[in-house]
Amino acid sequence: MKSLGKFIIFVGQLFVRRESFRTYIKLIFDECVKVGYNSVFIVAIVSAFIGAVTTVQTAYNLISPLIADPIIALVVRDMTLLELAPTITAIVYAGKVGSNLAGELGTMRITEQIDALEVMGINATSYLVLPKIIGSVIMFPLLVILAAFISIYGGYLTAMFTGVISGTDYILGIQMDFIPFQVTFALIKAVTYGFLVASISSYKGFFTVGGALEVGKSSTGAVTSSCIAILVADFLLAYLLAPLLTL
């Protein structure tokens, strides 16, 4: 509870004694490149294979004359949009970006760079962390859109090359009974996860005490805590928003 309280105060400090807007513009752009653009490769690889594996496994689990082939693609699409694209990408993102943010801020803390900012009269929390969170909240949804596209396309290529279903059936399946709210649902999850990963990881790094060993521990702690927060948020969002899919 003490950590949660400290975390809430930390998030609150992001919005007080801010510097001028122009100061943040470049920082936010830099963070967007760092957390977003630099994560494209790993997200693309993971998504392509998830799409491929989901297609193959679904196809082998739905072998029945009573189930039409396009259903396989429908399952792949729904799984991708509702769960795999936002949540698995968030776990990968926490591993790559979360550990990086915690390591960067932890190193800045132990080498007194954060103290240097404070002595200059700059709100270090706001100056260092706010651009990271904004960058993450902007870029992670874009990564999720990319992940969903690559995953579904990866499933299509797998279907074509392995012959588990035909390309025509796959295209038919991904269009079948489509609920546009699924995309909104995925993006709500993405914004939430983007915020959680950046804020938790920054919090862990910002309050690092000690030396290089503790920076490593902060990075590990950032990934662990982010993953737990993602899974809890996943459950809560599913509980709150899933009923809207049926409206």
Binding site: V16, R17, E19, T23, T107, M108, T111, E112, Q113, D115, A116, E118, V119, M120, G121, I122, Y127
Partner: protein, 249 residues
């Protein structure tokens, strides 16, 4: 002028500073000396506001910094420059960007004017043609000098230096001491230096306070130090053979 009034601080129930009061005057090199682990850096961090003391207050030119609202604290902080023990340079920025940083964030100067000021400060600390180098590409002594350049770029009224000589060879140490000394006199600012280096104390200590186990045991100038009858101070100052020889002379 900085006035420290009855500062006390403890961590996890262990008292680190006991009721310390001191006055640091303008245009002088004020030094806080003492052995490692006696609370010098904690006192300095209490003065600059990085650590909040449990008791006591710090006044900057009669302005109560410790209990000031955030706006006044920020305003006073913007009049400070600080040299950290390891330099605390931003790893991902060049020397020029490091020195320009306070101007970038705290002023609306045009770039050309900022660059001129940065070059002037780098020249002032004896560093030329290193603008585009990264902190990892320069030596420890150069990092300290870049740290000093960054600390003075915004023309501060107060300069704080935490162990400016730690990890440096004697020649570079003297160079850093002279630089701090010159800047203090030239700009007539209030400088507070934390050190346990006796060469620095003897070179530049206009006003010295000696801390032992969290308590202020002595204050005076470099000229009075040899005459002191405070046992802890004598043990600290004349710990080395060279200092003993000097005392006997």
């Amino acid at each position: 002028m900085i006035e420290v009034h009855n500062i006390s601080k403890s961590f996890d129930g262990k008292q680190i500073l006991f009721d310390i009061s001191a006055t640091f005057e303008k245009g002088k090199n004020n030094m806080i000396i003492g052995a490692s682990g006696t609370g010098k850096s904690v006192l300095l961090k209490c003065i600059v506001g990085l650590i909040k003391p449990e008791e006591g207050r710090v006044d900057f030119d009669k302005r109560d910094f410790t209990r000031a609202n955030k706006e006044l604290q920020t305003q006073i902080r913007r009049e400070m420059g600080m040299l950290f023990q390891g330099g605390a340079l931003f790893d991902s920025s060049t020397v020029e960007q490091n020195v320009m940083f306070p101007l970038d964030v705290l002023t609306k100067m045009p770039y050309e004017e900022k660059l001129e000021r940065v070059n002037f400060c780098l020249e002032r600390v004896g560093l030329e043609n290193v603008n585009k180098k990264m902190p990892s590409e320069i030596s420890g002594g150069m990092k300290k000098r870049v740290g000093i350049a960054r600390a003075i770029v915004n023309q501060p009224n107060y300069l704080f230096c935490d162990e400016p000589n730690s990890g440096l060879d004697p020649q570079t140490s003297i160079r850093i001491d002279n630089l701090i000394n010159d800047i203090t006199k030239e700009y007539n600012i209030t400088t507070v230096v934390v050190s346990h280096d006796m060469n620095s104390v003897i070179e530049m200590g206009d006003n010295i306070i000696f801390i032992h186990e969290g308590q202020k045991k002595w204050d005076g100038s470099k000229d009075d130090i040899a005459e002191s009858d405070v046992q802890e101070l004598n043990d600290f100052v004349f710990a080395s053979k060279m200092m003993k020889v000097m005392k006997n002379r």
